[in-house]
Symmetry: C2
Subunit: 306 residues, 2 copies
């Protein structure tokens, strides 16, 4: 048994059992991949894969159980390297963050600029992704931190920590009729076509829920991934926007106004997420503390199982 064999097994799952793809992902040859799998199965005395002729279709029962252990082993070998680097290269390395547009554009810049000042030798890698992709990047161990408002909770290998809380706000073109009412309610808002986030992004579900509970079927005439796009179309008077408040800046967004919507919408929680069992570099803990001063290193460690 060797590490290459284990890497290959892990990769087969990630590549949907396409060995050619596995070989490419691991920068090696198909033939080697094929042989390694055969060798490992022989050594363990178990067929790991369900086969149909020459094609692999999925994992057998023992295969499923074994892959879990294989992932643990590979995770721990990655941890060996992280631990070593924490000693040898303090403040040097990479910080990979996967997050949504909203965070990348509006909530992280100030934190990241602080972090860069403190750790100029840490290379920052910012993935901008959907919540689903963020989970995948996290569980694959390709990023250190995931940040999103949706889709991070309830994943077995992912630990989440509340980052901050917020409620959606309504933005309208300057001079829009709604600006005349002191604090418009959902019925008044629902009377206009609405532009907001795609389903599964940035608390979109909570926007819909608010209308549903008020018995209103809103006319969501457009949806977009990010507030920049939404704001552009609101300025073009195609509808009114419902966006995260972080995304509205009265100084910059001069063509728009934000309404006083109070608690019309449910509260959203934006989470920071870490992979359980993954050792992270010291500066990652520092980054977390920049996000939220009361982040305690030892409680974070306990939460992710270290």
């Amino acid at each position: 048994m060797n590490f290459q064999q284990l890497r290959i097994v892990r990769e087969t799952v990630r590549c949907n059992f396409n060995l050619t793809e596995v070989a490419n992902a691991l920068f090696t040859s198909q033939s080697g991949v094929s042989k390694h799998i055969k060798d490992l199965e022989e050594e363990l005395g178990v067929e790991l894969y369900i086969r149909k002729g020459k094609r692999l279709l999925g994992l057998t029962e023992p295969g499923k159980e074994l892959v879990k252990v294989v992932e643990k082993i590979l995770q721990e070998t990655a941890n060996l390297k992280s631990i070593a680097q924490n000693y040898t290269s303090q403040g040097v390395g990479e910080l990979a963050i996967a997050t949504t547009h909203t965070q990348a554009r509006y909530s992280l810049p100030s934190i990241i600029s602080q972090f860069r000042q403190r750790y100029p030798a840490v290379h920052l890698k910012l993935y901008q992704s959907s919540p689903g992709e963020i989970v995948q990047l996290l569980t694959r161990g390709e990023v250190d931190i995931g940040i999103a408002t949706e889709g991070l909770e309830g994943i077995a290998d992912v630990a989440v920590f509340p980052f901050y809380r917020w409620r959606h706000t309504v933005v309208v073109p300057k001079g829009h009729p709604l600006t005349r009412s002191k604090s418009p309610d959902l019925h008044q808002i629902g009377a206009y076509p609405i532009i907001t986030y795609h389903a599964g992004f940035t608390g979109r579900a909570r926007v819909e829920r608010a209308f549903n509970q008020a018995g209103i079927t809103p006319d969501i005439c457009m949806s977009a991934l990010d507030a920049d796009v939404i704001k552009s179309y609101v300025e073009l008077e195609l509808g009114i926007g419902i966006i995260a408040p972080m995304a509205f800046d009265p100084d910059r967004d001069t063509g728009l106004e934000a309404l006083e919507t109070g608690q019309l919408f449910e509260e959203n929680v934006t989470y920071l997420a870490l992979k359980r069992g993954r050792v992270i570099r010291d500066y990652v803990y520092e980054f977390l503390q920049l996000c939220k001063a009361d982040f305690n290193r030892s409680t974070v460690k306990a939460e992710i199982g270290l």
Copy 2:
């Protein structure tokens, strides 16, 4: 990085950093050991060992941290094999138990004979050891189960389960004066020279505690590892014996009598111990259930962290 390197690192700790010994333990050459260590340190960029000239003396701080992870990795690779064998070779394999004389001789035979009937193809390996050795065998992963009354609690990587409870009994030569009193107390018993277990074995500490609390300094004229030896000397009238009740059989030990000592001594708990994180074969769970019918496989698994 490869598994041999990790095995070597683990073994250096076990062999007190004597690389020659490591090489012998792993059936390889010193030179290879030396080189592997060097290579691994180079790859991780960290000195794992404190050196004095050419000799290794111990682990550095990063070394200590890394060895923990190395042990995890190697444990999980062993688990891979166990899991595979649970599928391929049901009821075939090895069951290694480390226990003290008392258990091996008196409490286990009936269980083991039942087990052998059920799993004739499982090779039994019975280590008879001191509690300290039992802990070592367990943590090194050389045995599946440890059984003892002493020294198993409070070890980080070892989970313990109460097996059964018992109190020491007093055995005397037939016709001994003490047999005349209905239920002798500690003062009466302490008047005679006593033969019992070595310190650290089979609840010896509780025997002493009982006398101490009664303000008596007993004359422990002999101590031995096991009840067979103790009983022999009691028969020779060198003293009276204080032994585990399992070790007295009125039919066989015809030269002796057991006194009615009621609750003179504190209760002892004999524990079954498993190594945390170690996957054990299905038949090991069956063995545990033979020991105690209410052993629940899933609670055991949870307790050992699987």
